[in-house]
């Protein structure tokens, strides 16, 4: 696939902390990590999704001014950023492993709408829904 969405970014409060979270606790891989002065372009990738990168950016100058950065940091910390969805094969198994690694779950796995879902947040406050992929009959 050569066309499509390549990168979608999240705001995080600390890129090092976010890197550890997404790599060590969620099993993502680092795709790009480039520094230029205070600016750091950091993206991670789900091992099963090589065409997509998740950017982990800290709001701040020069991209946005200090006041805007403060506002963005508040919005992230209040959990007001748009929802994110992680699709997994087995929600309960994933929950067990991630919980053991210290992921902050806001909702335990629940059976509903013909699937299983749970919720967790990254250290910054970004909220993820973790949904079990519906089994497609082969």
């Amino acid at each position: 696939m050569s066309q499509g969405v390549g990168v979608v970014g999240l705001y995080v409060r600390d890129q090092e902390e976010a890197l550890q979270f997404y790599v060590e606790k969620l099993g993502f891989r680092v795709h790009t990590d480039v520094k230029n002065g205070d600016y750091r372009w950091l993206t991670v990738q789900h091992p099963g999704q090589p065409s997509f990168q998740l950017g982990l950016y800290k709001p701040g100058p020069p991209t946005v001014d200090a006041k805007t950065a403060q506002t963005l940091s508040e919005i992230v910390a209040k959990g007001a950023m748009p929802p994110l969805v992680l699709v997994v094969d087995d929600c309960r198994e994933a929950y067990k492993g991630m919980r053991a690694r210290g992921v902050e779950f806001t909702q335990e796995p629940v059976d509903r709408y013909g699937s299983v879902d749970a919720s967790f947040r990254d250290p910054s406050g970004n909220g993820w829904k973790m949904i079990e992929a519906r089994k497609v009959p082969s």
Binding site: R13, Q70, E74, K78, G79, T106, G125
Partner: protein, 162 residues
């Protein structure tokens, strides 16, 4: 670089934890002491900080979440209003009814009646469109019925009429 004055995002993140806990267990009791502990904030500062962050004091936030859940249960289940009151965290039916009316402007019974009625807005759709829109389902239902009948004892040619 001057750091602009504003709430500390780390404090907000901890307050969010209290909000998350209420969201997932709004039927439980959430006195300020418990919430303050979740957020690692002093009890004296918790309510004010929470209101500044999320626009409502913690107690009112909890009530609105309970009402929200109650509304969903009224709409989606056949549970009695008493059961719903207790499942959503109220200790008395009277308090539930009063606060429900305060927040929504109608009684739980009225909400249920209206939601159930709204769930079938078809009476305003001309019948021909309705039939067209439902045709695939109808065919499925009929063939399904035929299949079941064929597998059973007798076969009927009765048509399914909406």
């Amino acid at each position: 670089m001057n750091v602009p004055p504003g709430p500390d995002p780390n404090l907000l993140r901890r307050l969010l934890r209290a909000k998350d806990r209420m969201d997932v267990a709004s039927h439980e009791e959430w006195p300020v002491a418990r919430l303050a502990r979740v957020s690692r904030v002093s009890q004296a500062h918790f309510a004010r900080s929470f209101k500044d962050a999320f626009g409502a004091p913690p107690h009112r936030y909890l009530l609105t979440r309970r009402i929200e859940r109650a509304k969903a249960l009224l709409r989606d289940t056949e549970l009695s209003i008493t059961d719903i009151a207790f499942q959503t965290g109220w200790k008395s039916l009277g308090t539930f009814g009063r606060i429900f009316r305060d927040v929504t402007g109608e009684s739980p019974g009225q909400t249920r009646a209206r939601e159930k009625a709204d769930a079938h807005p078809f009476d305003r759709v001309p019948a021909c469109y309705l039939i067209a829109a439902h045709r695939p389902n109808l065919i499925n239902a009929v063939s399904e019925k035929r299949r079941q009948d064929a597998g059973g004892k007798k076969k009927t040619n009765k048509k399914e009429v909406p």
